[in-house]
């Protein structure tokens, strides 16, 4: 008996390596970089077609880490999906928590008290430091500076992870924010410890810049590589440091003024050329601005309650409606779109992941570049596969 199976359309045809009469048709070569390639930052595949060393076609293939996050969240309570948001972008659990808490607060009409808002700003900016430090370390590792810069970056990151552990009980999977506030108050002596860590951070940034920013190899590898024009960046709805490296002044902390960001004095660094070097420098400059915000927040933090008295832990049912909460995550605009039908579970739960959307311009940046540059262009996009695949 013949079984009929429908084959899906091939995604794109494999290029003929030989012509019909048996001679070589050209020197195009198709290479699958990943999913087990150390430079792809996780289980991510780039199918590249190469002409010699030049990239003529690139296709990102992802989904290896798909965990059905949105559907799981629709089948669990509002509170129950808070720990899952930690695992989206596992380097920045605090900002993920905040974005989710913000959208649920919009849905349920909760208002976090003053102290909770300050704690949120402090933890989010610390998360930005963690993310950018990691990213810069990994980017330099992709360029061949194996080990040393990454280890220096991780050494600094450890002080902040210690702070997170003292605060929330976990280094990376913090699960700290709650709807209408935060879970626990700052432990005794935390502010002093945080001040110490933040004070030493600008010293580290100076050291790091001395270490690498003028390095001739870094400059040669990054300047003019992977240029993203501001028009394309806007059209492809790129957000975050990538957009600002292309010279577009768009920072949700300034535009949306969520939380209490309008109280702090900070600048938004902008790039000029939109190349990998600009993206690297933007991160370093943003870290300096984060340090500035942290100094102000740690100085001004008031005493008081940390959670809205209307907030409920058990039996939380927001009224029917929909809400979109978005924040300026370290990688870009992180948003959660929720529809409630009045039951304990969200009816629809959608994540707007900055990593995935920033990845859509990967081919445009890589065309015509060397294959070795494709690696650092991907590194400069700053993806975390937990968030890309969800």
């Amino acid at each position: 008996m013949e079984t009929i199976t429908e084959h899906p359309e091939p995604k794109y045809e494999i290029l003929p390596k030989t012509s019909t009469n048996g001679e070589a048709a050209g020197n195009l070569l198709e290479v699958a970089m990943g999913p087990h390639h150390p430079s792809t930052h996780g289980v991510f595949r780039m199918d590249v077609v190469l002409d010699g060393e030049k990239v003529v076609k690139l296709k990102p293939v992802f989904g290896y880490l798909h965990r059905n996050h949105e559907k799981i969240a629709e089948n669990t309570t509002y509170l129950g999906s808070m720990p899952y948001t930690d695992r989206l972008d596992y380097l920045c659990s605090m900002t993920n928590n905040w974005a989710y808490a913000l959208s649920v607060e919009k849905l349920a009409g909760l208002q976090p008290p003053e102290r909770a808002e300050y704690i949120r700003v402090i933890t989010a900016e610390l998360t930005r430091l963690v993310n950018h430090t990691c990213l810069v370390g990994f980017l330099l590792q992709d360029m061949g500076a194996l080990g040393t810069p990454l280890m220096y970056a991780f050494r600094e990151r450890e002080w902040i992870l210690d702070l997170f552990e003292a605060l929330s009980g976990s280094r990376m999977m913090c699960n700290y924010m709650r709807f209408g506030g935060c879970r626990v108050d700052l432990p005794a002596g935390w502010i002093e410890q945080a001040k110490k860590a933040v004070d030493s951070y600008s010293g580290f940034l100076d050291e790091f810049e001395k270490f690498l920013t003028e390095n001739e190899i870094l400059v040669a590898r990054t300047q003019g590589v992977g240029v993203l024009s501001s028009e394309l960046a806007i059209n492809a709805s790129i957000t975050g440091p990538m957009l600002r490296a292309s010279g577009v002044n768009y920072d949700i902390r300034k535009v949306d003024k969520y939380g209490i960001y309008e109280r702090f004095d900070f600048r938004v660094p902008l790039g000029d050329h939109g190349d990998v070097y600009d993206r690297y420098m933007i991160r370093l400059l943003e870290m300096r601005e984060s340090v500035k915000i942290l100094n102000q927040a740690l100085r001004d933090i008031p005493a008081g309650p940390i959670i809205d008295p209307k907030a409920k832990i058990r039996g939380f049912r927001p009224k029917a409606g929909e809400a979109y909460g978005r924040i300026e995550g370290p990688k870009g605009e992180l948003g959660f779109y929720l529809i409630s039908d009045g039951s304990p579970n969200p009816y629809r739960y959608r994540v707007r992941p900055p990593s995935l959307i920033n990845l859509t311009v990967l081919e445009d940046m890589c065309l015509g570049q060397d294959v070795a540059d494709a690696v650092i262009i991907l590194g400069s996009v700053d993806i975390v596969l937990g968030e890309v695949d969800r």
Partner: protein, 209 residues
């Protein structure tokens, strides 16, 4: 000059390398199995069940209300309610869990069971060296393995445990005071048949909040 940036960077590396011999602040790692960083007070690994007193079977605070089972995001808790009742920590007759299992290979240490528990019965442990050769049975913790005394809780989370104990103590004192007042009111009501009664409850002890 070409190469100046590289030399600067190398000097920075050398400074860090040589500094690690002289400055203890530059040595940031510890030799793990021999030397351990003390756990933070808020640290959490996996849940455990608290019991009061010496007997785990008798003093377990859990009343098998199954809220944690329902709220657990990865659904790693399994509870069977008992058929009979037994007195809890304040002497009230309550159900108890006949079976209470936590599959810690599924648990993601999110602490939501602790937050939703109305009886302060489940708390987070800090024990993390739990590797096992039996990945199914060895990581499925039953009631006996989960039960740990209140002293253990005091040891790992002192501030939090003191606060919880204070709250439970106040609750217990309140209940006892109420029971006492009720008993007195009963005696008075019996006596009230003969003598006209004064304002009720004025003799009850002040309630500790």
């Amino acid at each position: 000059m070409l190469g100046e940036g590289i030399i600067k960077g190398m000097a920075e590396t050398a400074r860090n390398f040589l500094g690690s011999y002289t400055d203890p602040a530059r040595l940031v790692t510890v030799e793990f199995p021999e030397e351990k960083v003390p756990a933070k007070e808020n640290a959490r690994s996996f849940p455990f069940l608290i019991f009061d007193g010496d007997d785990a079977a008798k003093g377990l605070r859990c009343v098998a209300c199954q809220i944690c089972e329902k709220e657990c995001p990865p659904k790693c808790i399994y509870i069977t309610k008992s058929k009979d009742k037994k007195p809890d920590y304040v002497g009230k007759s309550q159900f108890y869990p006949a079976v209470f299992d936590i599959d810690i290979s599924v648990c993601m240490s999110c602490q939501i069971c602790v937050e939703v528990c109305p009886f302060e019965a489940i708390k987070m442990d800090t024990e993390f060296e739990l590797s096992n050769t039996d990945r199914f049975g060895g990581l499925l913790f039953d009631k006996q393995k989960l039960a740990k005394p209140n002293e253990h809780y005091h040891k790992i989370h002192p501030t939090e445990a003191a606060e919880v104990d204070g709250r439970l103590g106040a609750e217990k004192a309140k209940l006892e005071a109420k029971a006492k007042a009720d008993a007195e009111a009963k005696v008075k009501a019996a006596a009230a048949a003969a003598i006209p009664k004064p304002a009720p409850d004025s003799s009850a002890p002040a309630v500790v909040k």
